[in-house]
């Protein structure tokens, strides 16, 4: 059986892969929503992520940024349990502790293009579903590109 992009959410739901303790024990990684960051006049890209009650997931679980750079991420724990977030950052990962019903901020710097995972590094939150991605789009500067004609891409 195959799924198209349009009906993927339905297929995941029918298969019991989009929630806790259904087919699998936890929620399959990468089955959540996709969100987009907004770039402010100051060049900082901002987004908000929440942990919904009893879902053990960061929502959106994939946030797309237009390019690498400075990021301000607002993180809200709406769950009735305590979690955290260990996030990638140039210099050293950053960690924030998120008790029940809490809200905090992470200021990050990440290169683009490329994808980065982060997660709640307590117990096995990461395996249950609290693993999510920050995806940087864009291209490297022209000065970093190879001196050759444009090449075909997949």
């Amino acid at each position: 059986m195959t799924a198209t992009a349009d009906d993927r959410a339905d297929v995941l739901h029918k298969a019991g892969l989009d929630g806790q303790n259904r087919t699998a024990l936890g929620r399959m990684l990468g089955t959540g929503d996709v969100g987009y960051a907004e770039e402010g006049d100051d060049g900082v890209m901002r987004a908000t992520v929440t942990i919904p009650e009893d879902q053990l997931i960061f929502s959106p679980s994939i946030i797309v940024f237009p390019h690498g750079g400075d990021i301000e991420l607002t993180i809200i724990n709406d769950d009735k349990n305590t979690h955290c977030a260990l996030l990638p950052h140039n210099g050293d990962p950053k960690i924030i502790w998120l008790v029940n019903h809490s809200k905090g901020t992470a200021r990050l710097n990440l290169d683009g293009p490329g994808a980065y995972w982060y997660g709640s590094t307590t117990g096995n939150d990461e395996g249950r579903g609290l693993t999510a991605a920050l995806v940087m789009g864009g291209e490297v500067p022209d000065s970093a590109k190879l001196d050759r004609p444009p090449q075909p891409r997949p």
Binding site: K94, G119, R153, P154
Partner: protein
Amino acid sequence: MTDYVDAGEAVAHRTLSNVKGEAPATRNVDYDRIKGAKSEPENWLTYYGSYDGQRYSPLDQINKSNVRKLSPAWVFQAGSTGMHSGASTYSFEASPLVVDGVMYVSGPDGKVWAIDPTTGDELWRYKHASPFDTSLCCGNVNRGVAVGHGKVYMYTLNAHLIALDATTGEKVWDTTNGDVRAGESGSAAPLIVKDMVVVGSAGGEFGVRGHLDAFDAQTGERRWRCYTVPKPGEPGSETWPEDGEAWQRGGANCWITPTYDPELELLFQGTGNPAPDFDGGVREGDNLYTDSVVAIDVNSGEIRWHYQFTPHDLWDYDSTMENLLFDAPDGRKLLAHADKNGYFFVIDRTNGELVRVFPFVDRITWGEITPDGKVTPKIYPDEEGVPVHFWPGPAGGKEWTHMSYNPQTGLIYIPVQEVGATATRRRREFKESIPYWGAGVAVDLDDHYGFVSAVDPTTGEEKWRWNHEYPMCASNITTAGGLVFQGTPSGEFVALDAETGEKLWQFQCGSGHHSSPTVYSVDGRQYVAVPTGWGGWVEGFLPGLLGAAAGDALFCFALPED
């Protein structure tokens, strides 16, 4: 619902550790100090210990008479958190540097540490966030840093050259130097020469165009770039198809640190395989400057001469490994190179003239190189879908891991791999960032072995051999104490008698070796440090140990103080 509890702002992970945050200030390391590195044997100032790549330490406190007492002084565990690229292929491949009582070492996944080299205490750490999806042919690895001008330089997995403050680890500048969308990456240790930092590209398995670059050490501004595949009309372009696009994806990456002769002002850079690795039909010709040593003018970035070890390579025989500089008894300036293709070359480093070539492995079936340097291919994947077995396999008789030269014995100690492989040509179209091998490849799971070969480079005579059931996949180092230290894939770190090859000592580190050990001293006590951690391109150099224990520990050994 009440207002949210204020969780505050995320903090650096290291603030929740015992890392001290600062390293003692050292004397400035500049060009003159690195040129004279052998005059301060307590330090290991640059990647090979000295510009000549000899990996020789003049220290002799640890010697043949007492090495059996060598014991662990401390162990540093790198560890990891969260999901990272190459989660199953990371390896601790670096060569630690030591400057005036501070050790600087890089690890997998963008990590750099300053460490107290007498205790193993972590002084500061830096971690470059590395995209999970970076194209990495051969694992999440980094081979080391350069230290100088008050900074520590590292080339990141995503091809950024970064400079850190040597006392705090804080980033000073960051220059993007490669195109990760094209499949470029970074793994080599940078080299400081004059007021510049030199580093080469990786990504030859993805069909990129190799290059070596030099940057202003203070600002990160690029001074020059030397492409190792010529464009049409440039010297060497006649070795590529005239009407094709092959040169644009030609490979010849520079993923190992060059050696350097300050008198000639030449960098000796080994270059990688052509792309696609095994399908020569789409790139007829010798394919310069792949699989070569290129002598590059450090001031201009221009190629002065070259010598190609495997013209029109069809076996993935990179020649990126070191070109070790030494002088003949008559004073002739020479260069020694043990190639993946199983032959050992001695070359006049002033002009690229071949002096001597001889095999240093037992099994060579891909072809033959005569004593005067004539290359005759014999077995290669040239028919679509037909498997071809050859020795050495694509990891070579010796891969990037480094040999060493002891001026006391006049011998070069080569870590040798005896592993074959089967390649079946499978032509495919080129697409940026997708592996571009042109074959299916399976390296032998058995019938492999290894040894350290002690060779007289002036005659080609093998003086002794230390045998092991597994190929040697780690660099060695030799000392004035009459010793050669070698790590094995099965975890042993051994000391050999440099004159006879007799094993005098060993310690089981718990994970295989695929790195470059370092020798130094602090306050009169000599140490030997070796990163361990089996990983990298194991499926290429020893798939028979793909299931061996991983690890990422830095071991440091010394004689008991009492």
